[in-house]
């Protein structure tokens, strides 16, 4: 197992569950009564048009956004019962990437490794290699292309081997070979027992990768089923038919 976090006693879980979770910002409803369960080994594809509430859902799962009503359960517990240590188990790659453009790739990874209490010397160099940045590690992120930043951000999010892996549009800016690499990575993570949730609007990439599909539109979950081929046709019917 690759969960080295397991030794530090931080709370572990093998499923994440949203129960009637709603979130609104003022009068704008971002999510309405979404119930969704993701288990270890799942790769849940979160599909929906822009502004459907995917990012809010990811935010709820990452504990950084609190639900207005309903609850988010990790295993059988609520996030507030688990406290700060729960965050040791969660990795998030968001659209904004969460890396400092002023720092070098190595500095970024070292900082976050230390923040997560990891041995930076041991984890940073392999992570740079995986991101394909082995020879650019000491360059400032500001000079990187979107694809390079995306790969770095991915490694940053996975540094601490989280149980719950949350990806918001992870394929933005990646070329085909990088997409394949990332897809393989996700499969391997799920195979190792991670819970993977991927929000994307790119059906072609999601097809064949995800094991379950959750479609949201205007803040509502309108489909939640096992993935099979012909994702595109069913997505169309779900979006159009609702």
């Amino acid at each position: 197992m690759s969960f080295d976090g397991a030794q530090d006693g931080s709370p572990d879980f093998d499923s994440v569950r949203l129960v009637d979770a709603s979130r609104h910002f003022g009068r704008r409803r971002a999510l309405t009564k979404v119930s969704l369960t993701a288990r270890a080994g799942d790769i849940v594809g979160l599909l929906g048009p822009n502004g459907a509430g995917k990012s809010t859902l990811i935010g709820l799962l990452s504990t950084i956004v609190a639900p207005t009503s309903g609850e988010v359960r990790f295993g059988n517990q609520l996030s507030r019962e688990l406290g700060a240590a729960l965050r040791q188990r969660i990795g998030l790659l968001a659209h904004e990437l969460y890396v400092y453009p002023e720092l070098s790739a190595r500095q970024n990874l070292t900082f976050f490794a230390q923040l997560y209490g990891l041995n930076a010397d041991a984890v940073v160099t392999p992570a740079l290699e995986r991101a394909g940045l082995g020879d650019r590690g000491d360059d400032d992120v500001a000079g990187f292309s979107r694809g390079m930043r995306q790969r770095l951000a991915l490694e940053r999010a996975l540094l601490h081997h989280p149980r719950l892996v949350l990806f918001d549009e992870p394929f933005t800016g990646l070329d085909d070979s990088a997409v394949r690499v990332v897809s393989d990575r996700l499969r391997r993570l799920a195979g190792d027992g991670s819970i993977v949730v991927v929000a994307t609007h790119d059906l072609d990439l999601a097809d064949g990768l995800v094991t379950r599909v959750a479609v949201i539109r205007e803040g509502r979950l309108i489909a939640d089923e096992q993935a099979s081929t012909g994702l595109r046709a069913r997505y169309r019917s779900a979006i159009g038919g609702a």
Binding site: H24, G26, R27
Partner: protein, 222 residues
């Protein structure tokens, strides 16, 4: 709460009827004469303002840590009343000062510190108005800090002023209750506090309606 509104209103009205009579009959303060009568509703304004400050702080703490919407309504309403009663104090103060000290603004310790606190609660309402979604939480922090800083504002302004020579004749009416100043003052203070409670109830009622409207908008989207 709603049931007590009408009796409260009646009592407050009575007090506001009695107070002017008492004030009119109160003896003239030897140095200030007629203008001293401002005192009877200048000081109660501050009392009401500090009541608002207290309610706002408690409501803010409650909202921030318990997420209680009702507490937030009270905090918001109380902040608005701080603005209202503070404004009254800030206007009546200079009017009094003009007559008693010969200037509109004296940088008097009490007036200045009240002005500063008043500004904090203006900021509170500005955050709520212009802060965008989620600004209630930010405002709650302002409310808590505003209340916490109030004794310091008073102490520091007070020392800042009193280090300098005193140029003004400050009446010490409260120290001489025997002269007949205390009764009208107490009555009008009570009247102001009750008025504060009444206005708070009305304003909270409005806030509850606004929340209900927000809920409806959300429900309507369903």
């Amino acid at each position: 709460m709603k049931k007590s509104f009408v009796p409260l209103a009646v009592v407050t009205a009575l007090l506001f009827v009695i107070a002017p009579i008492l004030i009119a009959r109160a003896p003239y303060e030897s140095e200030m004469l007629l203008i001293q009568k401002i005192f009877y509703f200048h000081v109660p304004s501050w009392v009401a303002m500090y009541c608002g400050l207290l309610v706002c702080a408690v409501g803010s703490i409650w909202y921030l840590f318990k997420g209680n919407r009702v507490a937030d309504r009270y905090a918001e309403s109380a902040a608005e009343l701080v603005l209202l009663f503070g404004l009254n104090g800030l206007v009546s103060g200079p009017l009094w000062a003009r007559k008693a000290w010969g200037v509109w603004w004296q940088w008097d310790a009490k007036l200045t510190s009240a002005l500063l606190l008043w500004l904090i609660f203006v900021a509170y309402l500005l955050v709520r108005k212009y802060g965008g979604p989620g600004s209630e939480k930010l405002a709650a922090a302002v409310g808590i800090f505003g209340a916490a800083v109030s004794p310091f504002v008073y102490v520091s302004v007070n020392i800042w002023r009193t280090i300098h020579p005193k140029t003004s004749v400050v009446p010490d009416i409260v120290k001489n209750p025997a002269k007949g100043f205390a009764a009208p003052l107490l009555v009008s203070m009570l009247a102001f506090v009750l008025l504060f409670v009444l206005l708070l109830m009305v304003r909270v009622y409005l806030a509850a309606h606004q929340d209900a409207l927000d809920e409806l908008y959300l429900a309507h989207e369903d």
